[in-house]
């Protein structure tokens, strides 16, 4: 270090000394003093360059240069506040949008799941062509676990729920009943207390449970001595053996966790029927060395064997395996990746815009740069300096962008329905900041490099000789700027087409007739689990009272109960046999959705009655069994006859299942139970008094805002049973809206990003054209002086802009043709290459480009030839 300082300090002196000696030598050779000094200097070479190179020898130099460059860059940026502000804002928009979307990408797709080695965890469902993925039956799980070699461990997870007295009002909580090895297999250790014991899988063991961290906080105040205490669920007492860790994540809500034994068995202790599929998934951990393909092949083999062995329950049932990450991500993945791609496009457009700004400014700096090169600065050195400047700008953009992202993340969190994130928290964390840093560096490079390379091209040195007559640029620069504008337009076009396609499909989707009227309908769930509801009459009495009291509330048009609410994920299906049909194999019976409803149900939901009658109060436990079918059942099974009076039964007829025939009394419209985009399925309806159920949903049609009825209805429930919780309160319209939430989120964000892209693209083309007009003022002046009509000048300028726009649109359409396919799974009712959308967007973009050129064209038209000619 000291050597370095001394050497560099004395370098000047050394050089002077050297030149003095050489001059002396020359004098000795008989030159004139002037000549001697000049020759000595020439022989020595470029003093600046020598000094620079000598400094280069002592490294650390880069740091010094960096600091110097940064000071210089900051000074330049301060000197052009307008330029700086526009560039920073443009970058901040691009970077902010990227940070916001990346925070979702990270939360959903990247953040490690809080399990040990999550890559070897798979989720297993049963699957059948009739309905798709279904729950696993417990006996099948037992057989899978016994037969599988590719899985080291397997655990069943059954979704359960309970009524809990609660702190202020009765609540319904969710839980997972799991195999005792579940937590240890996942690599999760309880926060407090202990894990389950293997013996606790057996039925009849004392009821124990683990609390979720949040339930422990909210209901036990985080009591450190909670372990060993009891909690009462559904009137039964459970001993708390532990508390789950705060970061525990599961596929659904887990307020409590308990051993599965009690749930997988009936009261006699025998394992539940193989044909019963409740709400169970199986999670398995692959054995070392076993891969996904192997596991799938093995499980499909096991399922095929079980299907042959137990045709009654397993005919046509196979197994579906998916990596646990995929189970968590669900259908969000495509949407998220599409949006991520979209924001990257926005960033590229922003970079192109800033690069354009740099080029314009670079033009005015050509002389400065040429001068520095002449004084011996190397090209690399100047490029480095300019990139430092870009980096400073990008850093500012990044900081402002992070600020924007904070707001953006909040907005996005509101757009994404919580259950879709399955417990992932979207926030601005270290990973996002790291990503932003990467984006900043990348952006600085993208928008800084082209202008830096360009303005240091060797031929700019000729600028000096031109004496600054031209205001910079030249053909090459204009071509580069034009290319950037074309790129911006094509990127914007791709985004706009994406947004257009999403908009059109969402419109199509919302136009779909769901088969019911969601307007002004409120729904809520209730589950009668208290001891007093163990007998059917009490259950029926509760529902009847509820219907009567709620119907009497002011503002209520009709009230009813039913087991299935459309567009929620609770479904109930059953095989049915139609009287007189040829009996199919066990896997091929009709498998309709079953609605157990009160008489007012189709009225409250506005499901049209097509034929016959709906249920009445007379369809009660004493009356003959009655049923309604939907139009699809009527079409499929009674194509050429009147279905009224025909009969069906649930299940397959056999000695063990003597027929209980339901007589069809009415035909109703099909409903889209599984989402607007999913086709209607077979449905049957039966009266609730003939099929008492403890768990039902209340459906209320009101005259005004349905949500305002909530508290009155809660009061009505409490007046019948003060301990009965109400849950899942939601208007039908909210359910409709949630059912298209992913698409709506994609549309809103894609729309936002493409709007941004459009504005930036328009600014880009505006900038290029107005700069070109400014450059050509002289030429335009001459043209006009020579008699060119103003309209021609106008056309000249607009034509130049439209040429760029045309190129951008052409490239964009080609790119969109390829890229729109990625959207396919999010589209509904249109193809990814929908002609109307493509045409509409192209026209829109052409119009915007026209407007962007209009202003500079007007300016060109008003050029006063005398002023223009005098100007230079």
């Amino acid at each position: 270090m000291r050597r370095r300082k001394r050497m560099l300090n004395e370098l000047d002196e050394d050089i002077q000394e050297h030149i003095a000696r050489e001059t002396q030598d020359n004098l000795d050779r008989g030159m004139s003093p002037e000549e001697a000094r000049y020759a000595a200097m020439r022989k020595f070479g470029n003093v600046m360059q020598v000094k620079e190179e000598a400094r280069d020898v002592w490294n650390l130099l880069w740091l010094e240069q960096l600091l110097e460059d940064m000071r210089f860059g900051l000074r330049l940026l301060r000197k052009n506040p307008g330029f700086t502000l526009v560039a920073i804002l443009t970058l901040a928009l691009g970077i902010g949008a990227n940070a916001a979307v990346f925070s979702v990408v990270y939360a959903v797709l990247l953040r490690p799941l809080p399990y040990k080695d999550p890559a070897s965890l798979l989720v297993l469902h049963e699957t059948t062509p009739k309905v798709g993925d279904v729950s696993v039956s417990f006996p099948n799980f037992i057989d899978w676990r016994a037969a599988s070699r590719t899985f080291r461990q397997m655990a069943a997870v059954q979704a359960v729920d309970f009524n809990l007295a609660g702190v202020t009002q009765p609540e319904n909580i969710s839980g997972d009943a799991v195999s005792p090895n579940f937590l240890s297999m996942m690599g999760v250790r309880p926060f407090l207390g202990r894990d389950f014991d293997a013996s606790e899988e057996k039925p009849g063991t004392a009821p124990v449970l683990l609390l979720s961290f949040s339930l422990w906080q909210s209901h036990l105040g985080g009591d450190p001595n909670a372990v060993g205490k009891t909690i009462t669920l559904d009137g039964r007492s459970f001993t708390i053996v532990g508390v789950l860790p705060p970061n525990y994540r599961s596929l659904d809500t887990t307020d409590v966790m308990l051993p599965i034994g009690v749930w997988a068995t009936d009261n006699s202790g025998a394992i539940k029927e193989r044909g019963e599929r409740g709400d169970m998934v199986v999670i398995g951990r692959l054995a070392a060395g076993a891969g996904f393909g192997q596991a799938r092949a093995e499980m499909e083999g096991i399922a095929a064997r079980l299907a042959i062995e137990y045709p009654g329950s397993n005919d046509q049932f196979s197994v579906k395996l998916q990596p646990i990450r995929q189970a968590f991500v669900g259908d969000m993945k495509t949407a998220i990746l599409v949006l991520f791609g979209a924001v990257l496009f926005v960033l590229l457009i922003a970079c192109a815009n800033v690069a354009n700004l740099f080029l314009v400014r670079g033009a005015s700096r050509t002389k400065e740069i040429a001068l520095r090169i002449a004084f011996g600065a190397s090209r690399g050195r100047i490029i480095r300096q300019m990139l430092t400047e870009s980096l400073i700008l990008a850093c500012f953009g990044g900081v402002v962008g992070v600020g924007l992202a904070l707001g953006g993340i909040r907005g996005m969190a509101r757009l994404i329905p919580g259950d879709m994130l399955s417990g992932a928290t979207v926030n601005l964390n270290g990973a996002v900041l790291l990503f932003v840093a990467g984006v900043v560096a990348l952006a600085a490079f993208i928008f800084g490099l082209a202008p830096a390379l360009h303005s240091t091209k060797p031929d700019v040195q000729s600028e000096l000789k031109e004496g600054g007559r031209s205001s910079g640029g030249g053909v090459a620069q204009n071509r580069l700027r034009g290319a950037l504008a074309v790129a911006e337009i094509s990127l914007a076009l791709v985004l706009l087409i994406g947004a257009g396609l999403m908009m059109k499909s969402l419109y199509r989707l919302l136009e779909v007739d769901p088969g019911f009227r969601p307007e002004r309908v409120l729904t809520m769930g209730m589950d009668l689990r208290a001891q007093q509801y163990s007998e059917d009459p009490a259950v029926l009495n509760f529902w009847q009272q509820l219907i009567d009291r709620v119907s009497a509330l002011p503002g209520v048009q009709s009230a009813a109960v039913g087991t299935v609410i459309p567009l929620t994920d609770s479904h109930s299906r059953s095989d049915v046999t139609i009287e007189g049909m040829a009996l199919p194999t066990p896997g091929n019976f009709p498998h309709p959705d079953v609605h157990i409803v009160s008489p007012g149900y189709i009225t409250a939901l506005g499901i049209p009655l097509l034929r016959g009658r709906t249920f009445t109060d007379q369809d009660n436990e004493k009356a003959p069994l009655a049923g309604m079918i939907n139009a699809m059942v009527a079409r499929r099974f009674f194509p050429n006859e009147d279905p009224i009076g025909k009969r069906f039964m649930f299940g397959h007829p056999s000695a063990a299942n003597p027929p209980k025939w339901y007589t069809v009394v009415g035909v109703v419209s099909d409903t889209r139970l599984y989402g607007l985009a999913n086709p209607a399925r077979l449905e049957v309806y039966v009266p609730f008094r003939q099929n008492p159920r403890n768990s039902m949903a209340l459906v209320v049609k009101s005259g005004a805002d349905p949500a305002s009825l909530t508290s009155a209805i809660r009061d009505a429930v409490q007046s019948i049973d003060k301990d009965q919780p109400v849950f899942a309160v939601s208007t039908m319209q909210e359910l409709v809206s949630n059912s298209v939430a992913t698409r709506r989120m994609t549309l809103v964000l894609l729309g936002l990003f493409s709007g941004l892209a459009l504005v930036l693209g328009a600014i880009g083309i505006y900038g290029v054209i107005s700069y070109s007009v400014a450059q050509r003022t002289h030429e335009i002046g001459i043209r006009m002086a020579l008699g060119a009509p103003r309209a021609d000048v106008f056309r000249l300028v607009v034509g130049e802009g439209l040429k760029l726009a045309g190129a951008g649109i052409t490239i964009g359409i080609a790119a969109a043709f390829g890229l729109a396919r990625l959207l396919s799974s999010l589209l509904y009712g249109i193809s990814a290459t929908d002609f109307e959308t493509f045409l509409g967007v192209a026209v829109l973009l052409a119009l915007v480009a026209l407007v962007a050129c209009y202003v500079p064209a007007r300016r060109a038209m008003r050029v006063d030839p005398t002023v223009a000619l005098r100007y230079e």
Binding site: M7, I15, E17, H18, F44, G45, V50, E53, V57, W58
Partner: protein, 120 residues
Amino acid sequence: MSTKEERERIELLQGTLDLLILRTLLLGPAHGHAIAKAIEFKSDDVLQVEQGSLYPALHRLIKRRWISVEEGTSENNRRAKFYKLTPTGRRQLTLETRKWDKLAGAIARILRPAGQEDES
């Protein structure tokens, strides 16, 4: 300074300047200008060294501790820096010279394969 003379000068190969400096200093300490003169003189003015380029090279050699520097007064009582070969530098010179001989020999063999030697 005829142009003819200048045309016959050869630009130095990258890195050879270092070698020449070390070789020059083998004869004893010298100051910058003297080193430049010596190189020019010994090569019969064939090698064209921009005298300035000497200095970064000297810095480079000091940094590698192949030469050292000390203050002194020159023949005509002017203050000057004298550069001196260090023991490491001496070893390095032997090494570099051997390397150079090898390289030069190899190149010569390629340019003038045996048997054509007398042609020129």
